[in-house]
Symmetry: C2
Subunit: 302 residues, 2 copies
Amino acid sequence: LRQLNFADRLSTLVGERRSQIVLGLDPDPLRLLPQAAEAAGSGSAAERAARAVAEHCRALVAAAAPACVAVKLQLACFERLGAAGRVALGLAADSAHAAGLLVIADGKRGDVPHTAVAYGQSLVGETPTPWGSVAGLGADAVTANPLLGRDALEPLVDAARAGGAGVFVLVRSSNPGAAAIQDVDSGGVPWHERLAALVRELGAGGIGTAGLSDTGAVVAATEPDRLARLRELMPQAVFLLPGIGAQGGRVEDLRPAFAPGPAAALVTASRSLVDPALAAGDPSAAWAAAEALREAAWELAA
Amino acid sequence: LRQLNFADRLSTLVGERRSQIVLGLDPDPLRLLPQAAEAAGSGSAAERAARAVAEHCRALVAAAAPACVAVKLQLACFERLGAAGRVALGLAADSAHAAGLLVIADGKRGDVPHTAVAYGQSLVGETPTPWGSVAGLGADAVTANPLLGRDALEPLVDAARAGGAGVFVLVRSSNPGAAAIQDVDSGGVPWHERLAALVRELGAGGIGTAGLSDTGAVVAATEPDRLARLRELMPQAVFLLPGIGAQGGRVEDLRPAFAPGPAAALVTASRSLVDPALAAGDPSAAWAAAEALREAAWELAA
């Protein structure tokens, strides 16, 4: 399965699960499900927090999976728990795979080519050592930061492609401060359209049989006109769409993202799915929120 | 000491050590000092590689420290060894601190504000949990990616500032692909000058008694004219300068970076310091290479 093009794997899974919903997990040790605290066990604060975080993720994934196609793991939230956090990250990825979901490692990595190779090994590949290879996280896709340019993205795209994984390159983020940097006028077009062109170029070598590329784009779901324009510039890229719910984006406005087909866009939601579960003390509330989103997106894409 | 402004801490240390040299460590398990392999011990490939990497870093730091003021740890190279790699990262930071050096965590992190808080906790702060606080890496400074804009950098700058640490914001990288993205014309000036303006704004709240800010900039050392222009735009920022040696930059061309004073710029070198040690099978060769660079930079800055 891992030999297949990522976009083809995604297309199949979206069709089977009738879902484009990505459960975003950015676990905060102070805001966990009640059952997670019980799993903390003994040991250092980091070890206990990491075990609780792993159980929190497992329970949410198990509950919400029927409405989802993937999970997005926010690497920062695991990294802050040190080595124990890395163990929890692996367990969260395992939980997602066990539930039939794809794993998107959200670290927005971006560095010079030599370092980009190491990030590829870490997330979608393996690291050769004199004592044998060290397996990476085994993510199905990663998010990447394109600020350093094409030569810095290529090693990550190549590593992902070699393993049937995908890369979502940040093109336009959903935070309020994005505009002042990403939308600057550059020869009559917003600067971020340069990033869109780069995504299209990088993706040309990874078009699957379903007509979509293994190199996609992170695009804020918060402005419908921009979404249409970026779809025009990147007709074969899968869009990963943050910004629905908590950040003000509306599912109804996502239609242009789905123009190439039902697997052409993924709707990622974190707080708007997890907060109801925390409020209810019950992970099944995350499923209910995801299911409502799934129905809305599926209808839109049909 | 950690309560002081980062730029003041740096200024004192640069004066004491008469050095602006940063030893860059991006350890590859296939290219380690002979003594490192002996430290691998037993266990999984990841555990053995991580122990070897930690010893490699320790030996290089111990040997080269007299010519340096800081080490730069490339997070990707530790991250790819999983949980064991995170242990090795902590040990490498400990080695640097034990040798009297500052630790720069080079991860070029950058994400939406909510996530930037987590990166701050991970690298320069601590994470509160119901089981007590989990200490972060304890870095003295971090590198950051500004693509997401001001609101995404602020939590990282705030976290660093609260702990007497610093942030080096990427303004112009040294890789060949940088130009097509970072130098795009934007209203008559290269786009990356927007990033320089952002660094200046963010740094205004963190000027120390030495007149330098705790918020600095990563600027490629590969083009002297650009260096002078960026110094003009960021008169109080400490420049972290990659690109000397292996990437073609020359120390003699760095003069504009040092204009505000001897602690106004740090010269970071990785392969050009470590490769001689690997070739000789002796970490003291890294000292010799660092010492030659130290003399050249110190003379220039005097």
